[in-house]
Amino acid sequence: MNIIVIGCGKVGSSLVEGLMEENHRISVIDINPEAFDKLPEEFEGTVVEGCGFDEETLIKAGISEADACAIVTDNDSANIMAAEVARLRFNIQKVIARIFDPEIAQFFSEEGITTICPTTISAEQVKTEILKED
């Protein structure tokens, strides 16, 4: 698969490492070029410095050939905007966005974006641990 990863923070760079193991073609976008230092040395994909919802940046990152877009910056609004640009302007079907705010995650998943909400996931997992029988 040709995959675009937007946001090269801790999650973004870990995601890239994981995807590399499955031999996918990866492009990474980040607004801060130093973020690319987190990528493993063996990374052979493309890096593009720029804003993930800017159409020119996405085109540079190869969005016209992309099969999927993973959007994992630390800003919910930026992630939503990038997801919508990928879906509506470039017709990418598989668009996944990490969204911290549970209500925003819920609302936009109803609008057709696959959202992963660490807040909800963490709360549920901690709850499970706390309620475990000793």
């Binding site: 919802f53 159409e55 609004s77 930026a78 905007m81 919508e84 640009v85 509506l88 925003i104």
Partner: protein
């Protein structure tokens, strides 16, 4: 009308001031604590502290009964989220959005948010007019950005000068002449109206047919 404004920067601040002076019911939402503090000194009852991207803040602001929501933060991504929440989740009838980077217009339009204002675009239009960089001056975007009202100023020597409107062969299903401004007077266009140098012609145009204007008016842009 109950109007909620998100973003207490210069635009939001002066909008709040103007609209409340005109007797409208306003609430401003501002997330920066320092800005909030300053604004609440000037308009104590008109501002709440919080982020307009958070639904509990929007509910606190009474978004359920708002007639208009204006998103004028400095970040297009926030304005996009706020506008969508207001329009689709809370069904606010009127949404007005500030778009800071004109390159972001298409995604707003694609999501059905059509009342978008970019001061950059507006000033660009004026600069283009003053520098004569482009002959076509876009005045207003309508209907998902494909329909525009544009202005052409007829310069000396333009091919259309001296011709009657009926001679120009402009297909009415592609563009409509709304009016002609001549010497500060409005002229209602008739088939026999003859175009003169310095006439400003206002068109309602589907921009996919912009090239028609190039052909008829010999535009240089």
């Amino acid at each position: 009308m109950y109007i909620i404004i998100v973003g207490g920067g210069k635009v939001g601040y002066f909008l709040t001031k103007e609209l409340s002076e005109r007797g409208q019911e306003i609430l401003l939402i501002e997330k920066n604590p320092n800005r909030f503090y300053k604004i609440s000194n000037d308009f104590p009852e008109l501002v709440i502290h919080g982020s307009g991207t958070e639904t509990h803040i929007l509910r606190q602001a009474g978004i359920g009964r708002a007639d208009t929501l204006i998103a004028v933060t400095g970040k297009d991504e926030d304005n996009l989220v706020i506008a969508q929440l207001a329009k689709k989740k809370f069904k606010v009838p009127n949404i007005i959005v500030r778009v800071n980077n004109p390159k972001n217009f298409p995604i707003f339009h694609a999501l059905g948010i059509t009342n978008c204002v970019s001061s950059t675009s507006m000033i660009l239009s004026i600069v283009e007019e003053k520098l004569n960089i482009g002959d076509l001056i876009p005045l207003l975007n309508l209907k998902k950005g494909n329909i525009e009202i544009v202005e052409i100023d007829l310069k000396d020597g333009a091919p259309a000068v001296g011709k009657q409107l009926s001679e120009l062969n402009l297909p009415p299903e592609k563009l409509n002449i709304i009016g002609i401004i001549r010497d500060d007077r409005i002229i209602f266009p008739q088939k026999e109206t003859t175009l003169l140098t310095n006439d400003s012609i206002l068109f309602l145009l589907d921009i996919t047919h912009k090239s028609l204007l190039d052909e008829v008016f010999g535009l240089t842009s």
